[in-house]
């Protein structure tokens, strides 16, 4: 792995890109050409972040958003894979449902958000339901693809050895379709996360999305940027870790 020159220099360029971004931020805010209302200095953002952590606001908002995301993600995973399992029992059902699910996923479900607020209020439950709806689709679509991609002769072999339906699922279908389902679960996480933040931004009483919207309304750019930077760093880090785990799991 070591000594691959082009690998090394592309890493250098990526780090350089990051440095350039931070440098440009620092330079632009210190020159004062852009109003500090739109681009606060990196230092003020750091101070705002420390203040958020010390006042406990950071942890309370994080807990709300985090638990909303986890609940929605869990529902999406269970409902998505159960629906996919039921649908893939018959080729006809796959032909009926798969394009419908893909078609619905192609329209912005955010349109339905006002209905969730109407039914469930502006508390966390509307965000759980909305994000779970969004997160359901990638899990269901990938699990359908995964379950239907299991080679027929594996199933026939298991059947000929007298495996029960559960044993077939546990030892043949699940391992064979695992890499594809895993991709769906990863995509589902990011969609759920984005939907919760979006729901909180649009209409909520608390949570990270609400904090960002509120900071913008109250003209507190440093606090808003503190949240934005936190979310960006978190999602980039999670993305890298999950992709790494995924490529390791599918390599096995």
């Amino acid at each position: 792995m070591i000594g691959d020159a082009s690998n090394l220099s592309s890493r250098a360029i990526q780090l350089g890109f990051l440095a350039l971004l931070v440098g440009a931020w620092q330079l632009l805010s210190s020159l004062g050409t852009i109003s500090p209302l739109l681009l606060p200095s990196p230092d003020s953002v750091r101070i705002a972040f420390v203040k958020l952590v010390e006042s406990g606001q950071f942890w309370s908002s994080l807990r709300v958003t985090g638990s909303t995301v986890l609940q929605a993600w869990a529902i999406a995973m269970i409902a998505g894979s159960a629906a996919a399992y039921a649908i893939t029992r018959s080729r006809f059902l796959v032909a009926v449902f798969e394009p419908v699910i893909a078609g619905i996923f192609a329209i912005p479900l955010t349109l339905l958000f006002p209905l969730y607020i109407l039914f469930l209020g502006i508390g966390p439950s509307s965000k759980v339901a909305y994000a779970a709806t969004y997160g359901f689709f990638p899990v269901a679509l990938n699990a359908i693809a995964g379950f239907s991609a299991v080679k027929e002769h594996y199933l026939r072999a298991a059947h000929s050895m007298g495996a029960s339906a559960f044993a077939t699922f546990r030892h043949v279908m699940l391992p064979a379709s695992f890499p594809i389902i895993l991709t769906g679960i990863r995509i589902s996480f990011f969609i759920t996360f984005a939907s919760v933040l979006g729901g909180e931004t649009l209409s909520s009483v608390t949570g990270i999305g609400k904090r960002i919207a509120l900071a913008a309304e109250l003209m507190e750019p440093a606090e808003m940027f503190a949240w934005i930077v936190f979310v960006i760093v978190f999602s980039v880090a999670t993305n890298m870790v999950l992709s790494m785990l995924e490529s390791r799991a599918s390599a096995q």
């Binding site: 082009s6 690998n7 220099s9 592309s10 360029i13 990526q14 890109f17 209302l37 739109l38 006809f92 032909a95 009926v96 419908v100 078609g103 192609a106 329209i107 912005p108 955010t110 349109l111 339905l112 958000f113 006002p114 209905l115 607020i117 109407l118 039914f119 990011f190 996360f193 984005a194 933040l197 979006g198 931004t201 649009l202 990270i208 999305g209 960002i212 919207a213 900071a215 913008a216 309304e217 750019p221 808003m224 949240w227 934005i228 979310v231 960006i232 999602s235 980039v236 993305n239 890298m240």
Partner: protein
């Protein structure tokens, strides 16, 4: 009477849709709270007799439609240009493709309040937000379209003495095209998402204003109708892009 599989699939879907509407109608008429749910028949009624007679709603729909077109056109322009720039050399792909992918993974909705601060609450903000959503899938698919090429096509081209221009024109470009169409389809979906998010966030005008008004006055029929019309618009636009894709990729049979 025997039906083809295609016909059976079509009629099964129709029956399901009809059954769902019927259940909803019965539920809404007999048990539901009329402040929250209204039956499909009343929704249809509201669409025809309330929404289409409200010039404010018509205005809002027309405005968001042209916002969408401008945002999508810009997303295609920037997506293709930057995709080509990054995908051109293998070094560019190696250095910048992971950066583009990581940026694509960021929940952009956290920037929505910032976009409003920068661009105000008018169309500019919604265009910019739609563009920032639609740009990424197009750029990503252009880049991967330039990366994934069957090496045998290239070797065959070389053995026939094709020039670099010939190879770009007859092999790389058509190969990229199918990936580009995928990007255009996803780009449409995400541009729509961006515009809808911005519309709903800015609730002092446009579609956001009307949804808020209907929800707060507990008048669900026109709210359902407005959402249904928007969803229908989204479906039609997606089908339009798909139809163009099918025309462009006839060879996939």
């Amino acid at each position: 009477m025997r039906m083809t599989t295609g016909a059976r699939i079509f009629w099964t879907r129709c029956a399901m849709l009809l059954a769902a509407l019927l259940c909803w109608e019965v539920y809404a008429r007999l048990w539901a709270d009329t402040r929250f749910v209204s039956p499909p028949s009343l929704v249809l009624h509201a669409a025809i007799f309330e929404l289409f007679r409200e010039p404010g709603v018509i205005d809002a729909l027309v405005t968001s439609l042209w916002i969408l077109f401008v945002a999508y056109a810009l997303a295609i322009l920037f997506g293709v240009a930057i995709g080509l720039a990054v995908g051109w050399s293998s070094f560019g792909r190696k250095a910048f493709f992971p950066v583009v992918l990581l940026l694509y993974g960021i929940p952009q909705v956290i920037l929505l309040p910032l976009f409003v601060l920068i661009f105000g609450i008018g169309p500019a903000c919604k265009i910019a937000f739609g563009l920032s959503h639609g740009f990424f899938p197009i750029a990503v698919n252009v880049i991967s379209g330039m990366k994934n090429i069957n090496i045998l096509y290239l070797r065959s081209g070389h053995s026939l003495g094709a020039s670099s221009f010939d190879i770009a024109r007859y092999i790389y470009l058509p190969n990229m095209l199918q990936s580009l169409f995928t990007g255009l389809r996803l780009g449409m979906t995400l541009t729509l998402l961006g515009v809808v998010l911005a519309e709903l966030y800015v609730s002092t005008q446009g579609i956001g204003y009307w949804t808020k008004l209907y929800a707060e006055t507990h008048d669900p029929a026109p709210l359902f109708a407005l959402i249904a019309i928007l969803a229908l618009m989204a479906v039609i636009l997606n089908e339009l892009v798909r139809a163009i894709e099918r025309r462009g990729l006839r060879w996939r049979g």
